[in-house]
Amino acid sequence: MHLPISDKIELNILHQNSHQAEKNKVKFNNYNLLCLNIMSSPGAGKTRLLEITLEDLSTEFQSAVLEGDMTTNLDAARLEKLNIPVVPITTGRACHLDANMVSGGLKLLEKKINPHILDILLVENVGNLVCPAEFEIGEHFKVALLSITEGEDKPLKYPIMFREADLILITKVDLLPHLNFDINELKSNISSTNPKADVIEISSITKSGFDLWQKWISKKIMKFKK
């Protein structure tokens, strides 16, 4: 037996995932395709947001969706009705999408359509405020949804998710008159966790805020394509 050797490697535990995420990003860039990673807890309104957004975007941009779900294709089926390319990714027991799953989804998308004609790829992550925050998928921007029914304290309780997000959409704001909810407290908690994030209040019922969300997306696409 030899004496123990200590190999100081200082390697990120998630480097395999990060490496694949970088490869995905290179692919997105080659396709001139902006990729958004849409994350939230279950029931915050991701799929409904996408239904409205995809319809609004369709006059100006070509979109596609990678739809992450743990066990069903229900959300993917809803979005397929909009006649846009949708690839369901069923994660099984995994509570988030990782870069390999997205790479697989992209390969399936390539079989459906030439991604060169697309402007934006929306990736709906699995509903979860913990894991998706740590696993990059090669996205250009992270968008986190937070519905007001979840409580003002969520940015403090799940700080990584809200710290990592480039944009935070406060959803279901049409319910404000019916709830004992302090939106200023929520905004203050968002600012203290992530002062750099853009914040938009939005309602899928009244469509308020969708113009700002649309502008945010358009601006990112135009800047990306320059």
Partner: protein, 118 residues
């Protein structure tokens, strides 16, 4: 549940590292990790998941050690470092400023691997 996926990534990284060493000729004794406090990882869950995942594998006899790296921020107003607390909205206690800069606490690293040659 994400500790399972973290463990998978960790094992893949170990496989990659071992390929360069000739896996058959070494015994890994310790995998020394640095895990930041401002991550989604619960150290004990990661250790338990790893121990279960490597049973019967070439890493069966290896042990995980975890050095916890404190969550430290820097006040953008006065440049002092501080330890952000959830109770205080992660704001700096000196100037009550929002958390802009994180100095440490986001680490998810394999710092070093202690091994023996057979």
């Amino acid at each position: 549940m994400h500790e399972v996926d973290m463990t998978k990534c960790l094992i893949l990284s170990m496989e990659e590292w071992a390929e360069k060493k000739n896996k058959e000729t070494i015994i890994v004794e310790k995998i020394n990790l640095k895990i930041g406090e401002f991550t989604c990882v619960e150290p004990i869950s990661l250790i338990n998941t790893f121990n279960a995942a490597v049973l019967g594998s070439w890493l069966d006899s290896s042990e995980i050690t975890i050095e916890t790296i404190p969550f430290e921020g820097k006040c953008s107003k006065c440049n002092r470092s501080y330890f952000p607390k959830k109770e205080n909205g992660y704001k700096s206690p000196c100037c009550n400023f929002n958390l802009e800069e994180i100095i440490s606490g986001r680490e998810l690293k394999i710092a070093s691997i202690d091994f023996k040659e057979k």
